[in-house]
C-alpha cells in the first residue's frame, strides 16, 4: 500500500547494490547454533568462490564454535530464502546466481550446539 502522505512519497532504496563498491550483500545463518545470535551479513565481490566462502569467510565468523571443526560440507545442506538449494563449491557466488541480499541457511546434520541445546 502507498504511504498516506501529503505529497508524492517516493524515495530510492538505501541499499541497492550499486552503493556497495562492487560488492553484494549475502546473509548466512547456521541453523541450530544460536551462539551466533543472528545470521551474519557479508559484503562480497560476486567473484567470491563458494569454497572460499565456506572455508575462509564462514570459518572466520563461526570458527569460535567447537562444532565448526566437525562441519562436513559434503554432508551439509543449504536453504536459500527457506527453500532447498544446492551449491557447486567450485563456482563463484555470482555464477551460482546468488543475488544481492540473498539469505542462506547452513544445515549441518548431527551438530546441535553446546550440550545439544542448539546454542
Amino acid at each position: 500500500m502507498a504511504v498516506t502522505a501529503m505529497k508524492d512519497y517516493k524515495f530510492s532504496p538505501a541499499d541497492t547494490q550499486d552503493k556497495f563498491h562492487g560488492g553484494q550483500l549475502l546473509y548466512v545463518g547456521w541453523d541450530d547454533h544460536l551462539m551466533f545470535c543472528a545470521p551474519f551479513a557479508y559484503c562480497l565481490p560476486p567473484t567470491t568462490l563458494f569454497s572460499d566462502l565456506c572455508e575462509k569467510i564462514l570459518a572466520n565468523s563461526f570458527g569460535y564454535h567447537p562444532d565448526w571443526k566437525k562441519v562436513d560440507f559434503t554432508a551439509a545442506s543449504w536453504l536459500k530464502s527457506g527453500k532447498p538449494w544446492q551449491p557447486d563449491m567450485t563456482k563463484s557466488i555470482g555464477e551460482l546466481g546468488l543475488k544481492h541480499k540473498d539469505v542462506l541457511r547452513l544445515k549441518t546434520p548431527g551438530l546441535k550446539g553446546i550440550d545439544g541445546t542448539c546454542s
Binding site: 524515495f11 544460536l34 545470535c37 551479513a41 559484503c43 569460535y64 550440550d115
Partner: protein, 517 residues
C-alpha cells in the same frame, strides 16, 4: 490612575475556559485549511473539536507553578547526591551500565518527543488538544534535561556517558529507538498521537519507566529515582492525553476505527520490539533485580493492558493480533538480547558480562520453562571460555531487520531453536524482517522502510568511518574506524565489565570511603 481590578478571582472552570479554549480564533487572512494543512490527509474525520474533553483542565500559569516546584526539589536532591558522592552508594558498578543505556537510548527520545508533540500541537485545529500537546511538549524537554542533568554526575566518574547526543544518530543499537521515533515523527499528527501518545505513553510506558525507576530504587541510585518521581506526575497526564485522544477519534466518526486499529497494531509491535532492551536491562543489568521481564510483562501488559483493551472494545477496537506472539516471546527476548550485546560488546558503549551462578539460578527460577533448556549451557560455556582467556566477541556484522533494525535474533514463535526469517520483495529488491509483525508493517508501507538507515549496510557502504579514512590502505581495521566514528573509545567504553576502568575505579573509590588503607 490605577486600573480597577475585579477583586473576584476566576474559578477554575472559568480560568480554564479563558486560558485554553478562549485562546482560539478563526483565521481571516488565510483559510483554516491552509493554516492547518496536516489536519485531514491521514483520513481521520473530526466533526467537532469542542467535544474534546481535557480531564486535567490545566492552564499554563498553573503548569509553570507546579513544574517549578518540582524542579526545585529535584535539583536539591541532585546537588546532594553529587556532593555526597551518591554514585558510590549503588549496589555494584555493573548497575551504572543500565544508566548508560538509558542516557544513550532513552533520553534522546524524550527530546524527539518534545519536538513531536510541539508539531502535533501546531497541527491540530482544535484548541483543547493543542494546549495539551503544548504542555506535553514542555514536559518532554524537561524530562530530557533533568535526565541529562541527573546522569551528568555519573559522566564525571565513569566511561560511556560522554557523547549520547552524537551517538544516537550513529551507533548500531541506538538506531533501534531512533528509527522508532523517526517513523512516528514522519507520520501525520493523528498517527503520532496513536504511536507515541497512546501506544508508547499509555500501553507501554509502565514497562519502560517502572523497571528503570524501581531498578534505580533497588540499586541505591537516589538521583535517578528522583527524576523518575519528578516525571511520574507528568506521565499520568500523558497517559490520560493518549487515552482521551484515541477515544475522541473513535467517537468523532465510525470511519476512523479501521485507521486507528491499523495504527494500534503497528505501534504496539514497534514499541514491544524497542522494549527488548528494557527486558535485558531488568534480567541482566540490574545487580539487585526488581522482578523479571516476564513478570513485568504479565502485570503491566497482560493484566493492565488487557483491562484497557476491554474498555476500548465498545468502540470496536480489538487487541492487536501480534500480541499472541508476545506471550511466547516474554520467556525468551531478554536472554536473546543480552546474548547479542555480550557478543557484540566490542561495539557497545557500555560493558557486558555473563551472569554469576546465583544470577543464573534466579533466571532459572523466573524462567522455569526456558532458561535451563535453551540458555544456561550457552552462557556457562561463554563464561568458562572467558575464564580461560577466550572471551567470545563476534567478529562479523549481523543481519538486521529492515523495520525494527534489531539484529535478526528473534526465534520462531513455535520453535525457540530456530531464527525467524521473513522476507518481502518490493520493486526488485529483497527486504528481510525478523517477525510476522515487522513483515506486516513493511508490506503495508514499503516505501517508508526501503529508505531505512541500517547501520550494518551503512558500514559496508563505507559511510561510517571518520572523514578522510582510506579503507583501501593495507591493514585497514574497519571495526576500529567505526568505533572512532561512533566516538567510542576502545578499551574504555566497550568490552567486558570484568577488568574495566569503571570496575577498578568504583572499587577503589568505595574502598576509600569504607576502609582506612
Amino acid at each position: 490612575m490605577d486600573m480597577q481590578a475585579s477583586k473576584k478571582k476566576l474559578g477554575l472552570k472559568e480560568k480554564y475556559a479563558h486560558m485554553t479554549r478562549g485562546l482560539d480564533w478563526e483565521t481571516s487572512y488565510q483559510p483554516m485549511d491552509k493554516v492547518f494543512p496536516q489536519a485531514t490527509f491521514e483520513g481521520i474525520k473530526i466533526h467537532d473539536w469542542d467535544k474534546w474533553e481535557d480531564p486535567f483542565r490545566l492552564t499554563m500559569d498553573a503548569y509553570w507553578k507546579y513544574q517549578a516546584e518540582k524542579e526545585r526539589k529535584l535539583y536539591a536532591v541532585l546537588d546532594a547526591f553529587a556532593q555526597n558522592n551518591g554514585h558510590l552508594g549503588v549496589t555494584d558498578a555493573r548497575y551504572i551500565n543500565a544508566l548508560k543505556l538509558f542516557l544513550t537510548g532513552i533520553s534522546p527520545l524524550e527530546y524527539v518527543a518534545h519536538r513531536g508533540f510541539a508539531a502535533a500541537g501546531r497541527n491540530f485545529p482544535g484548541v483543547g488538544p493543542r494546549v495539551a500537546c503544548l504542555m506535553q511538549s514542555l514536559d518532554e524537554i524537561r524530562h530530557a534535561q533533568t535526565q541529562i542533568h541527573a546522569l551528568s554526575n555519573y559522566n564525571k566518574h565513569y566511561d560511556g556517558f560522554h557523547d549520547f547526543k552524537y551517538m544516537i544518530e550513529r551507533v548500531w543499537y541506538l538506531s533501534v529507538p531512533k528509527s522508532f521515533f523517526d517513523d512516528a515523527f514522519s507520520a501525520g499528527p493523528f498517527e503520532w498521537m496513536i504511536a507515541i501518545g497512546f501506544s508508547f505513553e499509555y500501553v507501554l510506558t509502565n514497562l519502560l519507566f517502572v523497571p528503570f525507576m524501581s531498578g534505580a530504587a533497588y540499586n541505591g541510585d537516589m538521583a535517578t529515582v528522583t527524576f523518575g518521581f519528578s516525571a511520574q506526575s507528568d506521565e499520568a497526564r500523558h497517559m490520560t492525553l493518549g487515552l482521551e485522544c484515541i477515544k475522541f477519534m473513535l467517537e468523532q466518526d465510525p470511519d476512523n476505527l479501521p485507521i486507528v486499529q491499523k495504527w494500534i497494531d503497528k505501534w504496539a509491535w514497534r514499541g514491544i520490539r524497542v522494549l527488548s532492551l528494557v527486558g535485558m536491562m531488568m534480567d541482566y543489568m540490574l545487580p539487585k533485580r526488581v522482578m523479571s521481564w516476564k513478570e513485568a510483562w504479565e502485570i503491566y501488559f497482560e493484566q493492565n493492558g488487557g483491562a484497557l483493551f476491554g474498555d476500548l472494545a465498545r468502540y470496536g477496537i480489538k487487541v492487536p493480533e501480534c500480541l499472541a506472539q508476545c506471550s511466547i516471546d516474554k520467556e525468551h527476548i531478554s536472554h536473546q538480547a543480552w546474548a547479542t550485546f555480550y557478543q557484540y560488546g566490542g561495539a557497545a558503549a557500555f560493558h557486558t558480562w555473563m551472569p554469576t551462578d546465583d544470577e543464573m539460578d534466579w533466571l532459572s527460577a523466573k524462567y522455569p520453562n526456558t532458561f535451563d533448556k535453551y540458555y544456561r549451557a550457552r552462557f556457562t560455556y561463554w563464561r568458562d571460555e572467558a575464564e580461560k582467556g577466550n572471551r567470545f566477541y563476534s567478529n562479523t556484522l549481523p543481519m538486521l531487520c529492515q523495520v525494527c533494525q534489531i539484529p535478526m535474533l528473534f526465534t520462531e514463535p513455535g520453535d525457540p531453536t530456530q531464527i525467524c526469517y521473513r522476507e518481502s520483495d518490493y520493486e526488485g529488491e529483497k527486504y528481510h524482517t525478523c517477525s510476522d509483525g515487522c513483515k506486516h508493517i513493511f508490506d503495508d508501507e514499503p516505501q517508508k522502510y526501503v529508505q531505512a538507515w541500517l547501520p550494518v549496510h551503512q558500514i559496508y557502504q563505507g559511510n561510517c568511518f571518520p572523514e578522510g579514512t582510506d579503507p583501501t590502505v593495507e591493514g585497514f581495521n574497519p571495526l576500529a574506524k567505526v568505533l572512532e566514528w561512533y566516538h567510542l573509545e576502545h578499551g574504555k567504553d566497550n568490552l567486558d565489565f570484568e577488568g574495566s576502568r569503571d570496575q577498578k575505579n568504583f572499587d577503589t573509590w568505595r574502598g576509600m570511603a569504607t576502609k582506612n588503607t
